[in-house]
């Protein structure tokens, strides 16, 4: 497959506001992204606007807000997708097509049951929650992340294990939680399945508390993938650091502002994989 043949569905709903960055991230790598509203996938639109999920190679859920984030962040978007698009979504994921959710997109994937989805493709009920940050504040800050995946996640194949990257985060509900009584068991299983992708760290690479971990997330987890490795969700925004000038220290490090930022590797990994595949 040539990179321009890679069709990316950047899915939005009322309130999404990071679709432009997500769109640009894929476009800068030569793929063919398209911003698609949920209504276009479920046929609540004119015939010429109609789109079909199976026609795409990648599904990207950008950040922002969705449906006012009433009830819980991402819950309404997820419930609407589940009621109208469940079959197509399951088929998409079973074909091991890549799905990425950033920020609100991660919250949606968790509410949908596509993450962590420990026992298959999509759980009937959420297996995790992304709830109010421990600080009870909207945390908008650069965060340092350690890449923890051993090779399962297709979005980080191009990144060495242990590498520390900077992706900015901006969220009020990003604390990953499991059911209290199953916490330890689920964490162990996540490790065993190689589902943990990123953890928040301090500049020395240590797991540290607030503010390095902005939300109080369980085990400092910032991003996870499904057991197959083709669905990844994370709270911080890789699409905001496609270039070095997106990094807060770019004037001090002397690096070329137009050189690759830390986030590019995420999108490169998946585009390269699809190009190689066919």
């Amino acid at each position: 497959m040539k990179s321009e043949d890679i069709k990316v569905c950047v899915l939005r709903i009322e309130g999404t506001n990071c679709e432009e960055e997500m769109f640009q991230a894929f476009r800068q790598l030569g793929a063919s992204p398209e911003k698609v509203h949920l209504k276009q996938l479920i046929g609540k639109c004119s015939v010429d606007m109609r789109r079909n999920l199976p026609d795409y190679d990648v599904l990207a859920l950008p950040g922002g807000f969705s449906a006012g984030d009433y009830v819980r962040a991402g819950a309404i978007f997820a419930a609407r997708m589940k009621s109208s698009l469940s079959k197509e979504l399951k088929a998409f994921v079973s074909k091991e097509k890549p799905v990425i959710g950033v920020c609100n997109g991660f919250q949606i994937l968790v509410e949908l049951g596509l993450l962590p989805a420990m026992d298959g493709i999509m759980s009937d009920h959420p297996q995790a929650a992304l709830y109010t940050n421990s600080s009870a504040r909207f945390e908008c800050t650069p965060t340092l992340l350690k890449h923890e995946n051993k090779g399962k996640c297709i979005f980080t194949n191009g990144m060495a294990k242990g590498k520390i990257v900077m992706f900015p985060c901006a969220h009020a509900e990003g604390k990953l939680m499991f059911e209290k009584s199953k916490e330890k068991k689920m964490l162990d299983k996540m490790e065993e399945n190689d589902q943990i992708v990123f953890r928040y760290v301090d500049p020395e690479g240590n797991y540290a508390g607030y503010p390095w971990c902005p939300n109080g997330s369980l085990s400092n987890i910032a991003g996870i993938c499904n057991p197959a490795g083709n669905v990844m969700g994370m709270m911080p925004h890789p699409e905001r650091v496609m270039y070095r000038y997106g990094h807060p220290d770019f004037t001090r490090t002397g690096e070329n502002p137009n050189s690759a930022g830390d986030g590019r590797a995420i999108f490169e990994s998946v585009v390269d994989r699809l190009v190689r595949k066919a």
Binding site: V71, A75, A79, P126, Y131, T132, S134, S135, A136, M177
Partner: protein
């Protein structure tokens, strides 16, 4: 017309930053002796159904959207 009150609250042991921050704010205002503050969410749903049907429908609403069973529990009261 039936009025249903759907109460969504955090399961015991789940941290409640909103409640804790509110407690702090109340203490800063000089209120004393506050042992704990918990935040809950209450939805009032008016339905054209029998009380039994309404209760069933509301419970289904909780399972499909209003509560995340990982951290929250729900209760439905028909008024």
């Amino acid at each position: 017309m039936v009025v249903a009150e759907i109460r969504i609250e955090l399961k015991p042991g789940v941290a409640d930053p909103e409640g804790q921050n509110t407690k702090k704010a109340l203490e800063l205002l000089g209120f004393e002796g506050i042992a704990n503050v918990r935040s809950i969410k209450l939805f009032v749903v008016e339905l054209d159904a029998s009380p039994a049907e309404a209760k069933k429908a509301c419970e289904e609403m909780c399972r499909k959207l209003l509560a995340n069973p990982v951290i929250q529990k729900f209760s439905v009261q028909i008024k």
